[in-house]
Symmetry: C2
Subunit: 393 residues, 2 copies
């Protein structure tokens, strides 16, 4: 697998973005399109208050066929009732008209403030003529979907298809805050020119999302707009399913790291690996507890080896099988917990590792063979600053 | 019920505190004692890594009989193995010798950094002669058990016993960080001169703790040292059980508010009430989700009425019965969510309420009759500052 430093689109995909007046400045509307319809799959938030685009998207994905994605930032169109649903449909219709395709082939996303009406007229105006600007750079679309992200996020990779044709998978995403996906995740769009049928695409996507985006947490808050959509337009022909899934997993894992590292206020990526668990569910619960614990997150932020907090965060997982004297932990390569007790270690060395980026925290429960990984970030002043006045700013 | 602005002890209880050299300065060792043994009950943390004093305490409380409590701050004696257990016992023995009572009548607590050995020699030296300093002010003991608390915490109240004798209940506690009790709580000691037998005391204490300390969260992190111990020395005679429980509930509720308000970095108390839930478990889950959500906590900190976050935090409770269009919410007296949608409200008014203290957030799920209350605080720079370097400072 080749990973491209500079993301590029698979054959037949393009995007454009514009400023339609939702944000004070910067692009706030993005359009992604394939030149032919493709097989499609999607996973959405499990929040009880899904946004209007998620409600409409769930209907549309049933057909397993899409050609375009239209996304606005700044206003999420959540908690907006029937008017919100109508606005989401109107947004999709405007994109379909601009592209000259059927509206059932367009899926919509909106991200931003919850509970305020979507300024649909601005979005319609913004879409007019946008198809003329469709181009080859995924970062243009990535920039259009940003909210509090500090940089646009697009990755791509290349594998070989059945007949040795190069196949590309491209991933465009946003994250930053309200990120503890339970589906699903923030917004993530996957485009490929591989030929994969919708049902396999759905199976593969769910499996990969469970191991990547669903193990990401910036702040434990599950967004109402989380959506991960994948379109495979088949332009490059068939591919071996396992090679395709491996590439997708690697790509989504890398994007999960990028998203965690750019969590609101984050200054470091925290990678947690839990092994020796009695079950996969146990491994995931402990990984989540560690990466979500404010005391672990501030320990990483401060670079302060207060490793007793690791015992606390493992120990608070009440339903999990934990035998204290079997628990061990490492920060970087240094053993900091052995036999359920603080190990003797070089304080200065661990302090140095904690001040690096990423920080790797590995916990072995010593009671089984299951393992899980999770991705989080440190907790800093920046998180408080961004969220104490997000609505008003 | 009379609540005393200045806490005072029930008949027969006294306390003393001293600086024994665990902290750089300030009292770090406290002793509470009754002049006669009393009935006793206790609840402890459910963390898998309980501190050594918790392990020994669980044994001792089986007898339902105690006369004294000895507590040190700065070092928690958690994750310290057999040496830690021996140190905890030695600490209790030193207190018993100083008081001239049997060591089985003493319960111990240690709070502070996890995973470092307890300097038992300093504690033994500190206890020597301390009984001569036993006095009537609960705040002296409260000061000795503080870690990052900004002020000592003691409350007392008075009710009338069966024969009209005044009965006092006094509560001394600490909180601040690593507070999301799951038992139990931080450290809380209840003293009363009422005559209540140990079994009733246990039942009443568990019921009250479930509705108060267990619905408190500063940072979602469950401490390894959480302990709530109650001693009833019977010096004032019998009491009506229901009047006693009502008084205890009021006292613990008030202390829960005091603890939440003094959470690490907190600038405001956040009181959450959830009503109209299908079950008590649902009501508690939603209350917890609201009071623990970083985005709600920063909204309160910033005084910014980004009320869509309320929908998010209710909606992310996946197992709970939520019918979006039935959900309503108020901040203070202002309706901010109606029928699952953002209500029209006076932004400036809500901003003002959010900048006050406490902030009351009420959510009605509209699908049942169960209700629950929870107590939390805002999330500020102060939390990050205190925890980025707690171990080293």
């Amino acid at each position: 697998m080749i990973t491209h430093e500079t993301a590029r689109f698979p054959r037949g995909f393009r995007c454009a973005a514009t400023h339609c007046g939702l944000k004070k400045s910067g692009d706030d509307l993005a359009l992604f399109a394939s030149d032919v319809p493709g097989a499609a799959a999607a996973v959405f938030t499990r929040n009880h208050f899904p946004g209007a685009p998620v409600i409409v998207g769930r209907e549309r994905i049933r057909e397993g066929r899409l050609q375009a994605v239209v996304v606005n930032s700044k206003v999420s169109n959540v908690g907006t009732g029937a008017e919100g649903i109508a606005a989401a449909r109107a947004m999709g219709r405007a994109a379909a008209e601009e592209l000259g395709i059927d509206e059932s082939l367009v899926i919509m996303s909106s991200t931003g403030v919850i509970g305020v009406p979507l300024p649909i007229d601005r979005i319609q105006a913004g879409l007019r003529g946008l198809s003329a600007q469709l181009g080859d750079d995924p970062l243009v679309g990535a920039r259009g979907i940003m909210t509090t992200d500090s940089h646009p996020k697009a990755l791509s990779c290349e594998i070989r298809g059945r007949d040795d044709t190069p196949i590309t998978i491209t991933l465009v995403a946003k994250g930053a805050g309200m990120v503890a996906p339970n589906m699903a995740t923030m917004l993530a769009y996957l485009f490929t020119d591989a030929e994969v049928e919708a049902r396999s695409l759905d199976t593969i996507l769910r499996r990969v999302v469970d191991r990547t985006f669903n193990m990401l947490s910036v702040d434990t808050d599950t967004s109402t707009s989380d959506s991960c959509v994948m379109i495979a337009n088949g332009r490059a022909g068939p591919v071996e399913a396992s090679a395709f899934e491996d590439a997708l997993l690697a790509l989504c894992t890398r994007m999960t790291e990028v998203l965690a590292r750019d969590g609101e206020g984050a200054t470091r990526l925290l990678r947690v690996t839990v092994s020796g668990a009695a079950s996969l569910a146990d491994a995931r619960t402990v990984a989540r507890s560690l990466m979500e614990s404010p005391l672990i997150k501030t320990m990483v932020h401060g670079g302060d080896p207060n490793v007793g907090r690791i015992l606390m965060a493992v120990g608070k997982c009440v339903g999990v099988r934990v035998e204290p004297e079997r628990v061990s932990a490492r920060i970087g390569e240094t053993a900091v917990v052995e036999g359920g007790r603080r190990a003797r270690f070089d304080d200065a060395r661990v302090r140095e590792v904690l001040q690096g980026d990423p920080v790797d925290l590995r916990v072995d429960l010593g009671v089984g063979t299951e393992a899980a990984r999770g991705w989080g970030c440190d907790l800093s002043h920046g998180y408080v600053d961004e969220n104490a006045a997000y609505y008003s700013s």
